[in-house]
């Protein structure tokens, strides 16, 4: 992509000699890069965010906007998700103060999630999973069919179990990311589009001294690699291979429906298994939810097809079939469009957050695999706490860069 030349805003310069060198350059202006940049700039750092294309138009623009605790079992990712679920509304509230209500509008909606089982076999795994989550502090209320019908009147009557997760929330991912970027800019930071990160420069000591870009070298004290599914490429070009792989997903979007047709994030209990699994080349698990515009989103598939973005009708068919299983009422609803994107995942399915011990000054924030919108707020917070040496919000060790699954497989891949 090229930098637009006819947009009303002044064309960004890849190298602006009038401003002092940034303390940190964030490569990637998706929601993760934006959240890191926001948190770093809130800590007083001078931040510059780069994107090879347009901000918030890659993986971020392909997501449903999930802020979930319901889909994670006890463990480090759930801890990060819980921290992020607490952080998002606080962050948006403070940004509303700072930027004004319109500038910080991200369509935050604490609508709650409803996970349902439709077979007898799925009952025990779901209720056991919910019990374990309750042990980790998640609100996971097992409810009966009557209560489920009350919460979601159009839901199929053929439920065998249902769990209500009042903490699950949703936001509009592009608005969320661009709100964070607006805050970075308001604090004197920069956002540059159409600038590709190509590698880093280093001091004689071996530490990062700058970032090489398609628009020249930008001197800086540190670089954050927030390139999402492309983070492995950038890491390799910086000489520190990282195992981050793309996993494709597709979502269907219906025409606008009457209010209340779908009220929560409703998903089939098989979702839980699919998120944690890396086995199958194609998995679909049903997630049905409405947006503020009245459309219903139907997700989501997980395919390992590299960066191939061609349409696969069998995937769309499977999404449609399973959504009808949950909401038979949607049978005659028109599907207006389908879109797809690539999630970034690490082989052990945990995010990668922290400084790279192999290259001082090189930080990574990636591998959030389809949970990046929800995990972004705490990811930015954690990265900044590690940077400033403050007490981290969650134990950072499980996300560290130099775990074998990430660096050794990264070396093998590179």
């Amino acid at each position: 992509m090229v930098t637009p030349t006819s947009s009303p805003t002044p064309a960004p310069h890849a190298s602006d000699r009038m401003t002092p060198a940034p303390d940190v350059v964030v490569a990637g202006a998706g929601v993760i890069g934006a959240a890191c940049a926001e948190a770093l700039s809130a800590a007083g750092l001078r931040v510059c965010v780069l994107d090879r294309g347009a901000p918030a138009s890659g993986t971020t623009a392909s997501g449903e906007g999930n802020v979930l605790v319901s889909d994670k079992g006890p463990g480090p990712e759930l801890a990060l998700a819980q921290a992020s679920r607490r952080r998002w509304p606080e962050l948006l509230a403070s940004l509303r103060e700072e930027l004004g209500p319109a500038g910080a509008e991200a369509e935050w909606d604490a609508k709650g999630g409803l996970v349902v089982a439709t077979t007898e076999e799925a009952v025990t795994p779901l209720t056991a999973f919910a019990a374990a989550q309750r042990g980790a502090g998640v609100r996971a209320d097992e409810i009966g069919a009557d209560r489920a019908a009350e919460l979601e009147p159009q839901l199929t009557k053929g439920l065998t179990a249902a769990v209500h997760y009042p903490e699950d929330a949703q936001l509009q991912p592009v608005l969320a990311a661009t709100t964070l970027l607006a805050a970075v800019r308001a604090r004197g930071g920069e956002v540059r589009s159409g600038v590709t990160a190509l590698g880093v420069t280093t001091h004689a000591s071996g530490a990062v001294s700058g970032i090489r870009t398609s628009g020249g070298i930008i001197p800086c004290g540190a670089v954050v690699n927030a390139c999402g599914p492309w983070a492995g490429h950038f890491a390799a070009s910086a000489g520190v291979p990282l195992a981050v792989l793309p996993r494709r997903g597709m979502v269907l979007v219906t025409g606008p429906l009457p209010d209340g047709t779908v009220r929560h994030k409703v998903y089939d209990a098989d979702y839980v298994g699919a998120v944690a699994s890396g086995d199958a080349d194609l998995q679909t698990s049903t997630v049905v939810e409405s947006t503020r515009a009245g459309t219903v989103l139907i997700g989501s598939s997980r395919e390992r097809v590299g960066f191939d973005d061609s349409v696969r009708v069998d995937v769309l068919r499977e999404l449609a079939r399973k959504a009808l299983g949950l909401f038979p009422v949607l049978a005659q609803v028109p599907v207006m469009r389908a879109y797809g994107g690539f999630r970034a995942y690490a082989p052990d399915h945990l995010p990668i957050i922290g400084e790279d011990p192999r290259l001082p000054g090189m930080w990574h924030a990636t591998g959030h695999e389809g949970a990046g919108i929800g995990l972004a707020a705490a990811t930015g917070q954690l990265l900044t706490e590690l940077w400033t040496g403050r007490q981290p919000v969650v134990d950072p060790a499980p996300f560290r860069v130099d775990r074998p699954a990430v660096t050794e497989e990264g070396r093998a891949a590179a």
Binding site: M1, V2, P4, T5, S6, S7, P8, T9, A29, G53, A54, P55, A56, S57, A61, S62, A102, T118, T156, K157, G158, L159, Q172, V174, L175, T178, L181, A182, V191, S193, G194, M250, L252, T254, G255, A293, T295, I298, S310, V311, R312, V313, R317, A320, R321, L324, G325, L326, P328, L330, A331, Q332, V333, P334, V335, M336, R337, A338, Y339, G340
Partner: protein, 482 residues
């Protein structure tokens, strides 16, 4: 689904002049042909507009199966070529039938639709595209208004003036935003190539004179006024780049405005197939082959040149597709090149290129808009909202622009507004930015969910919504029926 006669079939999408010619040529070259079109009859948009006047009846050779009322909603790459997913039946009816066909030789002839540029008041009833007004006049004998102003650019405005006059509208003027006389003089090669067209243009000039219809160059409609519908129109002189000449604004009473600023090709299937696209049109070689093996394109998809050129391109594409499909004539010979059509496509192509240079859309149109002028009518997104999306939300890509502003997310999925949004906001790839539609046409969730036959019966959903409206036909040996 591999092997067998099915693979030899040429599939043509679009039954306008280009698609019909392609189907005919492929069949004459010995290939079985499936001709798919969204309309109920043959002829496409071009001939549909002439339905009353000509009562044309088209015949196709044996070997062409015509599939009317059918939309291609997805195109998939498969090892043997491409899989074309079709729904057949009235778009709003419950009983559309699904079908999927594999082909080694696909001809895309999906045509183009009128381009409208936004201006204050363009969303009032009484403002139509020139093409829609002509279709109403010629197809149904309906008048779009009593006092009609025609504005836009290109020679295609002139036959519209003729049609409107024929049904009794008073045409207050034809406002041509460019200065075609100057344009044509600088294009002698194209002028020569299009000499047949020049005669046609002279005929329209006589019509304008006979009906005392003013033809104004470098002028256009810049605002429509009215409460419930158009009551008056402001038009103005334009400079070379289409900026309004200050002080030249004139108000005139009118109850209809028809606008046509060239055409936007219907690109989604070509984009789905990953055909190379340049300047908003599919690029083809002399055999009308696109950059993708096994995919050909003909007609307005490849450049705007009118029905005659489209048909010649269709003949070339159909013949080439038949060869690709491995067709043999009855005598066993491979089809030879369609020499005459090839020659005419060469000279016609020059004419189309000259036409494009003489009637470009100039950037000054962006200055006709006000902050509150709607750009996307489906989602009611105004010019100011687009500007704010760029300035305040970094919406510098198609996806982020759509999700921030909601432009292009409504029923037309950006077909009407996409190019205008892209140009107004400086999005890259303005010609194709909004044409990436994995679902090329909307369909019901239950239609999408239907299992392909022959597949093992999938486990039924918990509360199955049986597709009672569909009677699956038995699978033919060489295709998949849904």
């Amino acid at each position: 689904m591999s092997g067998g006669v099915g693979d030899a079939r040429v599939v043509v999408v679009g039954a306008g002049p280009a698609g019909m010619a392609a189907a005919r040529a492929a069949a004459e070259a010995g290939a079985p042909v499936l001709l798919i079109d969204s309309g109920p009859g043959l002829g496409g948009q071009y001939h549909r507009q002439n339905a009353l006047a000509r009562q044309e009846r088209f015949t196709l050779p044996d070997g062409v199966e015509h599939l009317p009322d059918s939309v291609v909603w997805a195109l998939e790459k498969v090892p043997a070529g491409h899989r074309v997913h079709v729904r057949t039946g009235p778009a709003d009816g419950p009983g559309r039938r699904g079908r999927s066909i594999d082909t080694r030789a696909l001809v895309l002839a999906t045509g183009a639709y009128d381009r409208a540029l936004p201006f204050p008041g363009w969303d009032l009833p009484g403002v139509t595209t020139a093409g829609a007004a002509q279709a109403m006049a010629k197809g149904q004998g309906v008048r779009v208004g009593e006092r009609v102003l025609l504005a836009g650019t290109g020679p295609f405005l002139l036959p519209v003036a003729e049609s409107l006059t024929a049904v009794g509208s008073r045409v207050l003027g034809v406002l041509e935003a460019n200065d075609p006389a100057a344009g044509w003089l600088t294009e002698p090669a194209g002028l020569l190539a299009g000499r047949g067209k020049t005669g046609e243009l002279a005929g329209y000039a006589a019509l304008l004179a006979r009906h005392r219809i003013p033809y104004r160059r470098r002028s256009t409609v810049i605002e429509a006024h009215g409460t419930d519908r158009v009551e008056a129109v402001t038009w103005a002189r334009l400079d070379r780049d289409w900026h309004i000449v200050p002080g030249s604004e004139r108000r005139i009473e009118a109850d209809a405005v028809c606008v046509g600023f060239g055409f936007t090709p219907q690109l989604e299937l070509a984009v789905s197939a990953r055909c190379a696209i340049r300047d908003g049109f599919v690029t083809v070689n002399t055999a009308q082959a696109t950059s993708v093996p096994g995919v050909f394109a003909a007609g307005e998809l490849t450049g705007i040149g009118g029905a005659v050129l489209s048909a010649d391109e269709g003949t070339v594409a159909g013949t080439a597709a038949a060869r690709t499909a491995g067709a043999r004539s009855a005598s066993g010979a491979r089809p030879g090149p369609p020499v005459r059509a090839l020659r005419r496509v060469r000279s016609g192509g020059r004419f189309a290129a000259a036409l494009g240079r003489a009637y470009p859309v100039r950037p000054g149109w962006q200055g006709w808009l006000r902050e509150d002028t709607l750009v996307c009518r489906c989602e009611e997104v105004c010019h100011g909202a687009l500007r704010r999306a760029v300035e305040e939300r970094d919406a510098l890509g198609v996806r982020s622009m759509k999700l921030v502003s909601r432009a292009g997310l409504g029923p037309c999925q950006g077909r009407i507004c996409g190019r205008n949004v892209a140009e107004l906001t400086g999005l890259p790839e303005s010609g194709v930015a909004f044409a990436r539609r994995p679902l090329a046409a909307p369909l019901r969730l239950s239609e999408l969910a239907e299992p392909p036959p022959g597949a093992a019966t999938p486990e039924p959903p918990a509360a199955p919504a049986p597709p009672t409206d569909v009677t699956p036909a038995p699978p033919a040996p060489h295709e998949e029926q849904e």
